[in-house]
Structure formats: C-alpha cells, structure tokens
C-alpha cells in the first residue's frame, strides 16, 4: 500500500477546466514546496456535476468539498488544510437559500438528493486510468456477458431491466437489439450516438469525460448481443476533451485485450473507432448519422427500412445513446431486476439531466425515474436566483416543450412528461424565471431549428422558416389577428409532413408555449406589449410614476440626455432624444421603465 493519506479529487470536466487554469500546477508546486507531495495525491477526475461553483475539488477521505478554487487560493489552502489540518472555510459551499456554509460534499443538498448509477464513477476515478475503472467493477459486465451468457440471455436481461433509449425517443433498448439480432447478415454494426446537440445539454459529454470506459463496455456487450465485430462512436468534434479521453480509453482497452480479437480469451472479436462529426444538429438523427459516417452529407432518409434491418452501409445496425450504453455494464452485472427496482411503471432506472438557465445550482444531476420536477428544481437545483419567480422549464431542447409552475409535480417519466406537452428528451433542462418572454423563447428555438434544418424535405425547410418569420413579426410588434391560428396550423403541418424527427418535433416549442402561455402571444399581437419586457421593439420607453423611486440612475445612464430628472422628482423620457439604447432600462432596478 502506498503512503498516501489524502487524495485531492480535482474536477477535470470541461466546465471546471475552462476556469481552473493553473490550479493543478499551483497545487502540485505548493505540495512539493511543503514536502507533502508524497502523502497527498492529486487525482484529476471527470465532471463532478456541480459546474456552477467550479473549479471544484473534493478532499478524501474527509469528504471536504471546495468550490471556486483559483491559483491564488492554493498556498493558503495547502498550508491551512493539508499542513495544519484546518479546512479553509472561505472556500466552502454556501447554500443560496439559507446562506449556510456546508463543508462536506454529501451534506450539500445538490448531491444528497441524487442517485448515481450512470455517473457512479464521476469524481471517484481518474477517467484516463483503466485500472481505476476496473477497480469499480468495470469490465466485469463484459466478462460475464462474454463468458457466461448467450446473446439471447443478454437481450432478455436488458429487456427485463426496462431500459429505454436515453437519447430522447425512449425506445426500449432490449427490443432494438432483438430486431438487429434477428436481422440476417454476416456484418453488423454497433454505433454510439455522442452527437449531443440540444442547446443547454451536456450530459453525454460529461459521461464521456468522466467515465469513457463505461460506454466502451456497453458497446462490447451490445456487440455480443447482436453479433457485431465493429463499432463506431459518432462524437461531435466540438467535444475535444471527450474525444481525447475516449481515444485514451480505447487505446488502453486494446492494450488489455478488451477490444480487438479474442477478448478475454473468449474468442469474441470487437473493435471500436471514433468518428468525429462536424456538429450538425440533424446528424443526431439516426439515418443522417449513418450517412455522415459513410462519408456522405448528413441527411436523413425515410424509414423503413429501419437501421436494425438496413443501417450503416446497408447492414443491420444498432444506434444507442451514450447514457443508454453507460447503463449496460451494470445491468448485466447486477441483473435487469435490480435495475427495474427503481423507477415508475413505464420508466425504469435513473436519468441524467443537465440543469441550466435561471437556477442557482447549474450542473449535472442524476435522479431516479419518478422524481418530481419540483424536487430537481428546488431541492437539487436550489431554486431560482435573485428572488425571482419560476416561470417554466424547457425539457428536451428544441424538440421538447415547456412545463409551467402548475405542472411541476409531474414525475420524471416518459409518459407523464409527454402528457403535459414536453418530452423526456436527452436530458437538457433549461429553467426560466419570470423575466423570460415565452414568445421570444419559442423564437430562439425556432431560429435554431430553421438553421439546423438540413433542407431535404420542404415542410421542414420552408415551414420552419415561415414560423420564424411569423414569430419575428410578433416580437417586433407587427403581429396581426390570425397569427396564432397560422402558427398552429403550420406547426401541425410540419409535424405531420416532415421526413425526420427534427422537423416532426421542431414546432414543439411553439405548440407548448401556446398551450400554457397563449396570453403572452395575445399581449404581443393585440396590445403590442411584452409582459416580460424582453422584446425591446415593444417597449414604449415611458416611466411608470408609481414604480419610479426618483433615484436618478436612469438619468446618469442615458447617453443621449433624453431623461428629464431632478432630485426628488419622477423621471420622464424625452422621446425626441431617446435612441432606444436600453441603458436606462437595464439600470432601473424597479422595473419602472416600460
């Protein structure tokens, strides 16, 4: 045994790395300077999940959690905590609601409400060391599947687990494998979809960064199940760290003979290659993804034939999402029944979400299926910052929908979420506060969709553009009677007539905001008013004397001298001089300018 008494689990996820420049080096230097380098070890882990307070570090075995560490903090941290044994309070986490300081990670509500299955190794292993993964039961699922199980038994186990595709559509994984298994053909492929493209989603990237071997393990087991010998991971090239760690993981697995020929001496051959995608959103659609790997332009094709019959290079193919595959090793090792023990009637296991937007604790969370959205947003997410009110949460990115306050008790469950007009999606969860304009939000997603439409089919190419134009008009104050009906009719046409999932789900943000926030559309169109005051074209640039506190901040901010104000007097705006630059609007703390 080594003489190491303390391990510093320094987060090496993309979020923390982006802000932790020089922390690791400073830490190493300081430990050496203090003569502690032999007893205190730095371990760089994958994403810890708590990205908003990064760079983060967990001190083990004490379990002390430090946040927002900067190189200048290191000398004091090392001297106080590691030399003198006094944990440094000023770097502890502070609970936003109660302002309570919490030193230990497992006592922080953000962590204590989670159930880590997919992310069980986050912050525990060094993702660049295969031995660390093996030490946490890694590749024992492969050993069991290859040595003791027939392909039919593997598929039966995955079916028992009730695992459904985590990429968004929620198709039962075992069934997908069974179709591909039964498809005739010598050559078959296993693909991993790591083309995560929803705005605000970073679950798959974090899994790949924190535990790349878990995905490889899932792919090897899938390969055995359908009798495939070649796999591809389709990962967007904007994920350099994920690709870097995947490359290391694949090289290590090959060295250990866990990839290649005669894996673990069982006679089974399987190899994996990474294919870097250029980041087109449509390439997350399965048929477009396969075209892209073939070296063609990434465009979808009609189904059937389904990929399980004719996929990559017209051979039977399965495509599974990163998170789906990361579950497989444990399902095989611990059994489908174990997995199905958590969750609801129709949704089993856990789901990873990327929490972002107007929420205190931005980051990555994993919860059991069936957890109410309210728990995720308030208990784990810590609620809405700046004492603002919650307005809605967008689930499933541009293909999903928003869920308002009155539906927040909806559990995380494929059916239940679909019932309230959203989708489970791949796990992007964008929280919006009362200052968000829902029409503007729909416009944002429509802008994204029409940008990413591949242009192959007319409803999607032309339809989404017309939707965007209509929304633009409404936000600019040029909306007219009949616009809402037009949006609806066009949305349904696009949904019915589009070729692939992108178009079929593209209008969802409009339909779901119309469902819950129709009044905001009406205010824009008929009253030329934006209730959230986000659509600046609709601002009148007048001051509400009832809200004005006569503070003069607007007067000082105005660059064109358009504000008329004197001490102890309500301000007014001279519209002749006003250039609508919004300086006054942004400075006013009391919302008096409308």
């Amino acid at each position: 045994m080594s003489r190491i008494r303390t391990q510093l689990m320094l987060c090496g996820g993309t979020g923390c790395k982006a802000t932790s420049h020089g922390v690791r080096e400073a830490l190493q230097k300081e430990l050496e300077k203090r003569g502690l380098a032999e007893e205190i070890q730095i371990v760089e882990t994958g994403c810890n999940g708590f990205c908003s307070v990064g760079p983060v570090m967990l001190v083990q075995p004490e379990g002390i959690f430090y946040q927002k560490i900067q190189p200048k903090d290191i000398p004091q941290l090392v001297e106080e905590h590691f030399l003198k044994g006094r944990p440094l309070k000023r770097l502890f986490y502070v609970e936003p609601a109660s302002e309570e300081t919490i030193p230990r990670m497992n006592e922080i509500p953000f962590f204590s409400h989670q159930l880590l299955w997919v992310m069980r190794n986050k912050g525990v292993i060094d993702p660049e060391k295969i031995d660390d993964y093996i030490a946490t039961d890694g590749y024992f699922g492969v050993a069991k599947a290859l040595q003791e199980m027939t392909p039919e038994e593997i598929i039966a186990e995955v079916k028992t687990s009730g695992l459904r595709g985590r990429g968004g559509a929620g198709f039962p994984t075992g069934l997908k494998w069974e179709f591909a298994r039964k498809s005739p053909g010598e050559v078959k492929y296993v693909l991993c979809n790591a083309d995560e493209g929803d705005p605000g989603a970073f679950m798959d990237r974090s899994v790949l960064e924190a535990d790349p071997h878990s995905v490889l393990e899932g792919m090897i087991i899938a390969a055995k199940a359908i009798n495939s010998h070649q796999g591809y991971i389709y990962c967007r090239t904007e994920y350099p760290l994920a690709i870097h760690r995947l490359n290391i993981a694949i090289a290590q697995a090959k060295e250990y003979g866990l990839l290649g020929t005669d894996i673990l001496g069982t006679g089974f051959d399987f190899d994996i290659e990474i294919y870097e995608g250029a980041g087109a959103f449509v390439c997350g659609e399965e048929t477009a993804l396969m075209r892209s790997i073939e070296g063609k332009r990434g465009m979808p094709r009609p189904r059937p034939p389904f990929p399980a019959q004719k996929g990559l290079w017209e051979k039977p193919t399965i495509l599974n999402n990163v998170e789906t595959l990361a579950n497989i090793g444990q399902i095989i090792l611990k059994g489908g029944k174990w997995y199905a023990g958590v969750g609801t009637e129709t949704s089993k296991g856990t789901k990873v979400f990327a929490l972002s937007g107007d929420i205190n604790n931005i980051g990555l969370v994993e919860v059991p299926m069936g957890t109410p959205l309210r728990t995720i947003i308030y208990d784990i997410g810590g609620g809405i910052p700046n004492k603002k009110k919650f307005k809605a949460v967008q689930l499933g990115g541009p293909s999903g929908g928003c869920i308002p306050e009155q539906e927040l008790d909806t559990p995380v469950d494929y059916q239940a979420i679909a019932k309230v007009g959203a989708i489970m999606g791949s796990g992007g969860m964008i929280v919006m506060d009362e200052d968000t304009c829902m029409v503007d939000m729909a416009r944002f997603f429509m802008d994204f969709i029409q940008d990413e439409s591949c242009g192959k089919c007319t409803p999607c190419r032309e339809g989404t553009r017309r939707l965007l134009e209509t929304l633009d008009r409404i936000c600019e104050g040029k909306g007219k009677a009949g616009d809402i009906e037009l949006l609806k009719e066009l949305s349904y046409t696009i949904k019915d007539a589009s070729l692939c999932g992108l178009g079929q789900t593209g209008p969802n943000p409009i339909l779901s905001t119309l469902r819950y926030f129709r009044d905001e559309y009406e205010a824009h169109i008929y009253e030329k008013r934006c209730p959230a005051k986000r659509c600046t074209a609709l601002l009148k640039f007048e001051i509400n004397p009832e809200l004005c506190t006569k503070c003069g901040l607007c007067f000082k901010a105005c660059p064109s001298g358009a504000i008329i104000w004197q001490k102890k007097e309500t301000a007014r705006i001279d519209k002749e001089k006003c250039v609508k630059c919004l300086s006054c609007f942004e400075k006013c703390k009391f919302g008096a300018i409308f």
Binding site: S2, G63, K84, D131, A135, Y139, A143
Partner: protein
Amino acid sequence: MPKLTVQDLKKIKENTSKEMQLRGESGRIRILVHMGTCGIAAGAREVMHTLMEEMAAADRQDIRVVASGCMGMCSSEPNVTVEIEGETPIVYQHIDANKMRQIFKRHVLKGEVQSDFALARG
C-alpha cells in the same frame, strides 16, 4: 502486454481498489495528527511520516489518517488522537516517532490503550 483473462481483471481490481480506498466510505479507525503551528514546531511532521510508514507496512483498509488542527493544548504537542468506532477516543501527548510506532502497533492494531502517553479520553 499479453491479453487479459478474467483472473487478471480480478487482480487489477484488487490492487487498484486499495489505492482507491481513501475515496470510499470512511474507515472504522481514524488517527488524527494535530498539526497546528505548535504541533508542527514540536515535531508533528516527523510523527506523520512515521505513521504513514506504519500504515504502508500494516496494509489495513479500514484506517484513515487525518491531519487535524491545534487542540488548544499547545504545551502538550505533538498530539495524536486515536478514534476507534464504538470506543472512547484517546488523545496522546508529547508524541515522537517511537511513541507513534508503539501506539500504532499496540493501540490501533491490537486495541491496547497506551495509558503512559495518554493525555485524556475524548
């Protein structure tokens, strides 16, 4: 490197788990070396080094070593506290490398409290 067998996989797991022990559940026994300025001045660093050597030799998975702060009894430093689950913690005083070795071998490993060096219970 030759291909792994399932046996090799188990071996790697066993060896690596030891290194990763610190990241798991907390141990059954905790040894606190009080390392305030006073403790360090009185020789706590050497005590810590000795302890880590003993730890390496003992190869026990359920013991955690923690560098702790000054207890407020600076005149009795270096202090070491041994906390064994279910037993009263014992604080030792004026510890040096030899005493540390003795405490580790007798108290920590065999459960015999070394009253001669003890300052207090709790």
